[in-house]
Symmetry: C3
Subunit: 636 residues, 3 copies
């Protein structure tokens, strides 16, 4: 079947194929009885059709014999129960035994395939953290965490002081007394939880690094990547990515909508297209994580199996999602999976082929896509690959900040990631492109810098903000905590007070039915509000007298979460002030500029008319639902 598959892939326009992840029980059916022949055959077969191969290391699924030999490999849940064999990701990142076993199998694979001409890249493991697997409460983790604490805090007195352990008599006498943040009677010390999150995130990075090192050694010149996920912040992706060449991610727009969205209105409106900013947000984020190099390595080709409900995409979306990735700069866009598997957990996950090897619906769209890509390539060649100026807006995305807010939300309707995405949507609705970058990024090229979840302010970021001439939008809660998740001695927003003279003297979280509005200006705040002490006049005043939104030269401090309409108007004004060109869009239309081209996508339920100047090289001004257009702006 394989040669035929390879041929069909090539004919369809596919050039890169990922194989091998999860294959440990076939690569090593018993300890030290390796069987790489089948994989060799597979890679050779793909190579024969000129296909490039990404080889996945199989470490996401330690086989049964290995678990039976070393049950301590298993991760442990909050109640002390091992997370057993029978699905995947059942290992603890802190297990030294497992780290050695992974090195053993990865080295073998790297030696066997590292020099193969077809193998152009490696994927380490698979979806770190999927199914809440970053945190494990094993004994190995406890031992490693104590060591980590010793490293970070130096002395137990420092740890006690940094965490405020005097509160509730939580003090430790030595690092040997430090416990795991689980099974407590009530809320744990948030600093303890944050430290454990940082430790766990570091464990992922060091686990990953072991594989990277062996792959670099035995397979030089190949790219190394990992496949990250959507709406997932359970470890610091920047740290892991620092060891990789490319950040890739797995994009399931319909599944994310149904699983992660809070609003039934959204779920209904975007049922068959996904939220119009869902893919784009992650494309922009992973471009930042990958320092410019990124792929979509898994793309939904039809209904999937794992969301609460699994509708079919609107016809056209397979092509649309692919071109959208391209427009945001993806090097590769790959579907998961080639052929629908007839058995086991994911048998209801669509592929490009049905289980009987006949073509599924995505294939026709991919054929059209391949033609589109030719048109675009030709156009780019003609225009000499004109480069578009980068996005005018930068979002600083802070994984630890997101985590701090999850540990201490202070209001149970506060969604840290949701808030960032709300601001992102407001920008995208205004037709503006966005970069999402880490706190230590160079910010010179931007006109507006959005700081929305930097709860503890990194000094590099502070310096960038102090020296930039761009407009800086500081969201609520930014700078509100020290690096150990306590209140800064000068009160929130802490270090940011060097940018703008505001001091937060009171915060409140509000249930969804409580919305606070301002007198003259149309500000509406929900969920979170801060009372400010400042010599500055607030830009507006709430009906109960609290000030709303403060500004000091190019620095803007927003002291509450604006509701959707209010946020859109606020962001639009900020963009305009920053001199950024606005293209107001209906909320189903999205545009992105890429290499002198403008891509337009219709996620909405209605036909829409584009009024953008440019020469249409694909599509036309009228966009039916699910349709796309590409314009050359240069000579439009």
């Amino acid at each position: 079947m394989w040669p035929d598959d390879a041929r069909r892939m090539r004919e369809l326009g596919i050039s890169v194929v990922r194989v091998g992840e999860f294959s440990w029980s076939r690569l090593e059916p018993q300890r030290d009885q390796f069987n790489f022949d089948w994989l060799q055959r597979a890679v050779d077969t793909l190579h024969a059709e000129g296909l490039e191969v990404v080889l996945g290391t199989p470490t996401a699924t330690p086989p049964k014999w290995l678990i039976d030999e070393h049950p301590s490999i298993l991760a442990v849940d909050e109640s002390g129960q091992p997370r057993g064999f029978g699905s995947r990701r059942h290992y603890c990142f802190s297990s030294n035994i497992y780290r050695q076993e992974c090195q053993r199998i990865v080295e073998r694979m790297a030696k066997a395939f590292g020099q193969h001409k077809a193998v152009t890249a490696w994927q380490t493991d698979n979806e770190y953290g999927c199914h809440s697997t970053i945190i494990s409460y094993s004994n190995d983790a406890l031992v490693a965490f104590r060591q980590w604490c010793k490293q970070r805090y130096g002395s137990i007195d420092q740890l006690n002081s940094d965490w405020g352990n005097v509160f509730w008599s939580m003090e430790y006498r030595s690092f040997d007394e430090v416990g795991l943040p689980c099974s407590a009677v009530t809320e744990l010390n948030p600093a303890h939880r944050l430290a454990y999150w940082r430790f766990s995130s570091d464990q992922v990075a060091s686990f990953n690094r072991l594989q990277v090192k062996l792959l670099r050694q035995h397979s030089p010149g190949r790219d190394i990547l990992h496949n990250y996920m959507g709406n997932f912040t359970e470890f610091d992706h920047y740290t892991t990515a620092a060891d990789l060449d490319i950040a890739t991610w797995d994009n399931y727009p319909l599944g994310f909508l149904d699983r992660d969205s809070e609003s039934d209105t959204d779920k209904k409106k975007w049922l068959r297209t996904g939220h119009p900013d869902s893919s784009a947000f992650h494309h922009d984020l992973y471009r930042g994580v990958g320092r410019g190099r990124w792929w979509v390595i898994e793309q939904q080709p039809g209904p999937v199996n794992w969301a609460p409900h699994n509708p079919a995409p609107l016809p056209g979306m397979i092509r649309l999602w692919a071109l959208e990735a391209l427009a945001h700069g993806a090097e590769v866009m790959s579907w998961f999976r080639w052929r629908q598997a007839p058995w086991a957990q994911e048998q209801n996950h669509t592929g490009l082929l049905l289980p009987d090897s006949t073509e599924d619906e995505a294939v026709a769209e991919i054929r059209q896509l391949t033609a589109d890509l030719d048109v675009i390539a030709h156009e780019l060649k003609e225009s000499g690959n004109a480069s578009t100026q980068g996005p005018p807006v930068a979002f600083i995305f802070d994984y630890a900040g997101d985590q701090m807010l999850r540990i201490q939300p202070q209001g149970n309707n506060y969604s840290p990631l949701g808030w960032v995405q709300d601001i992102y949507t407001a920008c995208r609705n205004a037709g503006v492109d966005v970069d999402i970058v880490p706190a230590d990024a160079l910010l010179d090229s931007y006109q507006l810098i959005v700081v929305a979840n930097s709860i503890s302010i990194n000094d590099t970021l502070l310096k960038s903000l102090q020296t930039t001439s761009a407009h800086v939008l500081l969201g609520p809660r930014c700078g509100s905590k020290t690096d150990e998740l306590s209140i800064p001695s000068n009160l929130p927003p802490g270090k940011l007070q060097s940018l703008i003279p505001v001091r937060v003297t009171r915060v409140e979280s509000l249930p969804d039915f409580a919305i606070e509005t301002t007198q003259c200006e149309n500000f509406e705040v929900h969920r979170w509000r801060e009372k400010i002490d400042s010599k500055l006049q607030p830009q507006a005043t709430f009906n109960d007298g609290w000030g709303c939104y403060y500004r000091h030269n190019n620095i803007h401090y927003l002291n509450g979460c604006l509701t959707e309409t209010s946020l859109q108007s606020f962001i639009t004004t900020r963009l305009e002030e920053a001199g950024i060109l606005i293209t107001p869009l209906t909320d189903g239309i999205r545009i992105r500029k890429h290499k002198g081209l403008l891509f337009a996508f219709n996620f909405g339920p209605d036909k829409e008319q584009l009024s953008i100047d440019g020469r249409f090289i694909i599509g036309q001004p009228e966009l039916a639902p699910g349709e796309i257009a590409v314009l050359n702006l240069g000579d439009g």
Copy 2:
């Protein structure tokens, strides 16, 4: 008190009394110290009034001393915790020690009472599976499961292949490595879960068989029965029932409504009557399970204690429910319980007597019922017990199919049992009687055969369907999986493609707010829809172009779940095509034909006028809520 009780029972018209279930701690207060005197006295007392006795074996409640002696008897939950003593059903079906203990006590009882004239039947245990007790994750279960797998699959390679264990490296090297389907990080292999369900269901059957064997040996000529439950499909009832003489069940219409219904509209409308098809569906099902012989052994006589809310029945319902059971062919209809217990878990469960032995409300209705029964008996004698032709419609009910859909619903609003009951309701609303039968039943006598949850198609059923001249309605998902819960190599509906040339190329599950409608015909689909590849023209077309409902001669394939109104209209048309006489009813009225008589029941909130020809022997054409009428059709 007992002689008086027995007298009152007889005077009330009661003829059969069940005793003894749960009585182990009184029958054997300490190991080998048996005390049967009290039970002897009880049975003798009942016998003195001419009452028949059903003796229950006490194995649903192993006493404390036995558990303390052998803690391994306890069932084990998913997280590895024993399910402790302190209520009931705390045993594991796979415990060999417990099986021996049960044989010991049952043999003793059978020897002591087996020949007693009053004892006309035995009940094994009590409500197998109540409180989710079919599945246990004990070590005994693990050992037995591995043995069961060896038996079923022969070789570990076969098991690995049947389950698709290559996926996620779940392969085993030997049966000794096979694990329990619990505690995994994420979704388990559905084939693994299905196998464990089949194993567990088989364990119930073999556990039950041990008792049956001893009872047949020591108490020959008596009926052996078990009391099954409502809306309960957690083991295959046909298998257990194959060893019994009679299927009995426990009917709590108000409790089921409040506990099991998904819709608040239903809960409000039928608050004091129960859903009009709830009892009837189970009567028809257990008639099938019992191969024609069935009882209601527990019937709600007033408010119960265990539902989320426990309202009083509408006056009249005690009599109505009883006559309804008779109309569906019950041999015996018995209330639970005689006297309300003043203490322990069920003290708020109504009986026929209040705790102070005065009569509760049900008694007056039972007196009226006894008079009704005399009228009916007289009428039947007059008419020479005319037999009515059996129901024209057969539903194939498949316990494994139900389980497969529970394991892999693919949409979290998909209720497998609910869907079958929706179709049942549509038939009953049309005034049509229904048989519910297993896949290997003889289907010669029917005009319409409904196949709604046969996910994997049994060869006997396939043959019946291939040769029948009846209309066959195949519901969505039927035939969509192999016996090992994988996708058939020829795609769904698998073997059913031999009946009708359709091929399911895509499925989707939909949230409740998403309803798909067809262009001309009034089809409305929710929750589940399939895209069909076929040379047949669909009978209708959805607005997005998918085909809806396919037909090939007498074979009908419905490729989605129709909403209530749409389903009613669809089923009515199918019944008419099959030449079945329709009696459209308001949704509170239900009718059933039995031995030449027609019974009519009003579950609705309003007075209703019957327009059915016949001679009223009980009641009249106008039915108030909770009222019933009986007509002789023969000479009406």
Copy 3:
């Protein structure tokens, strides 16, 4: 910092300061290495400013070294998992080792500080039961429970009989077989659960008593108190309080509203004021618990950290809540806490000072309050401290009754505490003051006695009710169970049948959408209804014929839960019949009489006009939201 703090406290009008609770890890950093110097310094510093000190024993937070030494101190949850170190209250009340350790530290503290002039009171431990910590399933608890059972029941036969263990073969042969009420397959014997609750409640009392004894011995003449909580009934507070001098409680009106209220309407309406009866109910309850002596020892001074949402109070509420406590008779009203802590679990809990020691908003209101207190003190001095007649209404509050209903609610929307509070609200809406007292209280001075949750009737109470000339309102379910939570042999309301000839023959619980109404009178019942057999004519008749509300001379039996409006009208009529003066209030206004003064509070969203005769010494007839007024009634 401390001397400055003490000075600022004094200047603000503060006179009592609580310190020391939770401080074990600082008082004894290692076993037997005591360090009391810092606390000595703290107490001396406060003393120097003339402040009184309440010293808290630190036993709510055993330090890590103690837990590591004796892990058996940890409480154990229902699934057998220890409730670990890392927050607070991680001990089991039944641990004898922990009891000894507590005696050790308390004795040391008592000896060190017991004679200090500043120390005027001691607080034992902190918030017994917070975070569901009354019940523990440890081995120590099992051993003690068996002993407790032996004591209570004398023989195992008695226990078996009292609990009805014959049901489901739950009988024990000896006390050594008695188990813990957890981990059963389904519902446990309610009598078993009740006994375990009583045992656990007794364990709290005896645990507390050990400390009280040492404190009395080494610190004679000081008051001993404990801080109870709001909406908390998980142990019998009367029993513990019998050993104390003063009952104190922790009042968080906004947190309670958001955490405990069932209704979103309430949550919205009282978002920033708290429910107008929330504080008052507890003030009245704890006045009863403390036999007249009670404090608010923790009062919310701004947003807190622990509720689902944490809004800021309406300006004025800090002062209002304080005067409300005074009006209900509090000796002391104290805020929690002085300074907001910058780290650990409660860093988002407001204090009087911000973390940087600047004043938070509450301070300005406290200054105003201090002035108010001077005005009031002056007025009282003028009037010679005229005493007001006590409240005309007594509520009997029964902790065991509340627990019985929680164990066996029979309807999942039945809130035992909520029902009592609904009746309380109806009285307070009528402008009537209320005492809340135990079943053995003297009831001579009341005109209306409300018995709302006395499920098992205490003989002392029965005698009081039999002899009183006051009107007695008996709510549904009162008297419905024996002391062992079984049905009385004469049926509910059991012993209360000696007061009024009614007999409950049927009960029903109803979902929220089912409301039963009466024909002529405007009674509306929801959630719970009883059918009565009586020679009395019911005062009204439900549409389905059940009787509603029975009366026999001064005894009133209400056989269902009335809806809000219906309850208000019913209670108003009862108050009037009892000759109690009604002052109908809008539902945001509350009044209370205290020492010849009348205090009026506006919790509502609108300005309200008071029409009460009297001389205003604070405020005026028009009350803005959050405003208060004080009138002298004597010469108004």
